[in-house]
């Protein structure tokens, strides 16, 4: 160091010089030695960081363009309005008036339409059948899907194929599905025709109401097995392997692991699928019923949604059909509420 030189700036590539002497003789101690420049810097940095952190809790990242967000939402809002709120409000209006088929004659009749629907024993028969259909088809499809998902999760042979193929039935439109099953389950020409050769007349969904109901339950459950399967498989894959391994180390066999570890951890998905399946069984079943059984025989498969269609479009009783659809909507809302209230308690969210 040459004290006689001018003020020294510590060059960047220099080592740490603890001090330098300026021309005036003042000794400049390396700020790093002094510590307070480091500290301030550090402190400042920390403060800045702290300030930044505080600022980030105080200062939100604001998306400046207000209208863009709204514009993104508008198409969806339009769809919901056009295809739900507008028809639903029309249905409400029709349910409380007496609608002539050709328009006009909107005479307000209060609760008469709803009273007429509710005092009709055939309507309650239809409600009971819809509930039976919902329960059995949901139970059947979820049970089968659960078994399949657990087996595929265990990486049994062919599981890659199953994963891709099992969801395809969900993509089939209900009328196409109904037509296929109608042919397959035809008593004289279908897959079960051989049963009728051995015991004549045992399989006859055209005259036996219970068999017709069983046929549509089976067709509907078949469609939703794939849908349920995909969700359950995804949820199963999310369960940490370590839990299962721990169970295996403790000596639990696969079935016990399934029942005690995997299924309880699956309950959020099962609950979600339960709500979806039951809701869908009230409205997606229309195509199957219309093609396979037409509501018969003797009203055995006259589900609520089919009855609404028949009374409204074939019977031209728009007011009655509107009243029925309002009741159906309330029923589905009520069922969903019950599920959330009472079943969700048993769901283990973790």
């Amino acid at each position: 160091m040459n004290p006689a030189a001018g003020p020294h700036v510590i060059p960047a590539n220099a080592g740490i010089h603890l001090a330098s002497v300026s021309a005036s003789g003042a000794v400049k101690i390396d700020p790093r030695l002094r510590g307070d420049d480091v500290a301030p810097a550090a402190r400042a940095g920390r403060k800045r960081r702290v300030r930044g952190a505080a600022a980030s809790t105080r200062k939100r990242a604001v998306f400046g363009n207000k209208w863009l967000g709204f514009a993104f939402a508008v198409p969806q809002l339009l769809l919901i309005f056009t295809f739900f709120y507008w028809p639903a409000s029309q249905a409400l209006y029709w349910a409380f008036t007496l609608q002539g088929p050709w328009g006009g004659g909107n005479q307000f009749v209060g609760l008469d339409n709803i009273k007429a629907v509710v005092t009709d024993p055939v309507y309650w028969d239809s409600v009971v059948r819809s509930l039976i259909f919902a329960g059995l088809s949901t139970g059947l499809s979820m049970a089968i899907a659960l078994v399949l998902a657990l087996l595929v999760d265990r990486e049994l042979a062919g599981n890659r194929i199953y994963r891709s193929v099992l969801v395809w039935p969900y993509a089939i439109a209900a009328p196409a599905l109904g037509l296929a099953f109608r042919f397959m389950l035809a008593p004289q020409a279908g897959v079960l025709a051989f049963v009728n050769h051995i015991w004549p007349g045992i399989w006859d969904p055209t005259l036996n109401g219970n068999e017709a109901l069983g046929a549509i339950i089976f067709a509907f459950a078949w469609k939703y097995v794939g849908y349920n399967f995909i969700f359950m498989l995804a949820a199963l894959q999310g369960i940490p392997r370590s839990l299962l391994e721990a169970g295996a180390m403790d000596g639990a066999r696969p079935l016990r692991r399934m029942i005690d570890i995997q299924v309880p951890l699956l309950t959020p998905t099962l609950f979600f699928l339960l709500v979806l399946n039951i809701t869908d069984s009230f409205q997606d079943s229309f195509g199957i019923v219309d093609i396979m059984t037409g509501g018969g025989p003797a009203r055995a498969t006259n589900l609520m949604v089919y009855k609404i269609y028949f009374d409204g479009f074939k019977g031209l009783d728009y007011s009655g059909a509107a009243a029925q659809s309002i009741i159906l909507m309330l029923l589905v809302v009520g069922l969903t509420f019950i599920q959330f209230r009472f079943i969700e308690r048993r769901v283990h969210y973790n």
Binding site: T206, G294, L316
Partner: protein, 451 residues
Amino acid sequence: MLHSSRLFATVAVGLLGFALAAPAAVADPVKFDFWYGLSGDLSNVVQQMCSNFNKSQSDYQIVCTSQTDYDTNLQNTIAAFRANKQPTITQIYDIGTATMLLSGAVLPVYQLMADNGYKVNWDDYIPGVKLYYASSKGDLWSMPFNSSTAVLYWNVDAFKKIGKDAAPKTWEEMAEDMKALKAAGYDCPLATDITNNESWELMEQFSAIHNLPISTENDGYDGLDAKVMFNQTKFVQMAQDLKDWYDQGLVKIKDAKAGESYEAAFADGHCQMTLDSIGDHGTIGKTAAPDMHWATAELPMFAGFERHNSIVGGASLWVLNGKSDAEYKGAAAFLNWLSQPQQALFWSTETGYIPVTKSGYDFMVKSGFYDKPPFKGREVAVESLSEGTPTPLTRGIRLTVMPQIRQEWGNAMQAIFAGQISVQAGLDQAAQRSDADLAKAAAQYQGKTLP
């Protein structure tokens, strides 16, 4: 810049090309819509007729659209009417007649033709057909188009085997013939079905030819507060007999949903008799084996009853309100063209439907239409419709809720045949529910009267 000016040039040249290519402006023909509820083969024939009409003149152009089936066409017509987008002419099935008459949405056909200066001989229409679609004053509100009635199809070969050369005329004779056929080894003497559709053959036609009421108020003609009566007439006996024969294996239920419909079962030779519309005569002719000999006969009756005319089925053409005068001119021209004997011949040749005018029928008989297969046998339907003079109970059915009544009837028959309920109790239940539907409809149409 170059990009956009090139684009502009291309568009300009394109438009110019279009303008040059367009033909010199001629008076465009007046277009009007015709919606019909037929599909498949029958729809092709309708399209053929529409293009024939368009080719025959240049003032009007009819645009014909298939709505797939009668129910859908009625629903679509109503929806279009509510949105003020209705067609000029629409084809509505027989049981929709009462709904149309009370709708306030139709321009009666007799008025349309009179307004446009066409002189139509309304008395030329076969009475059994005309009275179905006419007002209480006898004026036709819709134009009968594809008309049919129910007949008995029977297998001549099978009957020869049991030593008979004519179809049974009574149900008592039918029972014996069925037993004989069964003994001769035929598994299915008579095929039928018991859905709402078969109410037409089994209950409605039955009631008409026996001159029995389907409901009070002369089947709805006289007023809106009707009550059904099929659970109190001889039809109860018919239903009981059918159920007994079904239990004995003489009558088989054949449904398309179960594998084969009854007309297909007859055409295949699986079943030896069936009650069906004459409209299927062409289809059966095309699908039956060439060496199968079969024929038609009038529907059997119970002994002790005098035969009356059966009622017409099918559909008719209605003209709707709210269209322009030019469209009405076109519609009148089309309906006039349609009623010519040549068109009746074309329609009856290509489909199984029968002519609705006496002159049309005579024209076809004279030209030897009914002398040879495949058309031999269809004259039975015209004879069935022309049997005697129509009575107040054989004009037709004018109940607005007939689709629901048929559905109740079908449900009752299915419950009866499945053994869930007795015949009388089942029919009573159907009658009770039908009366409820009728009462609801009367409330809906309060203050209106049938024309």
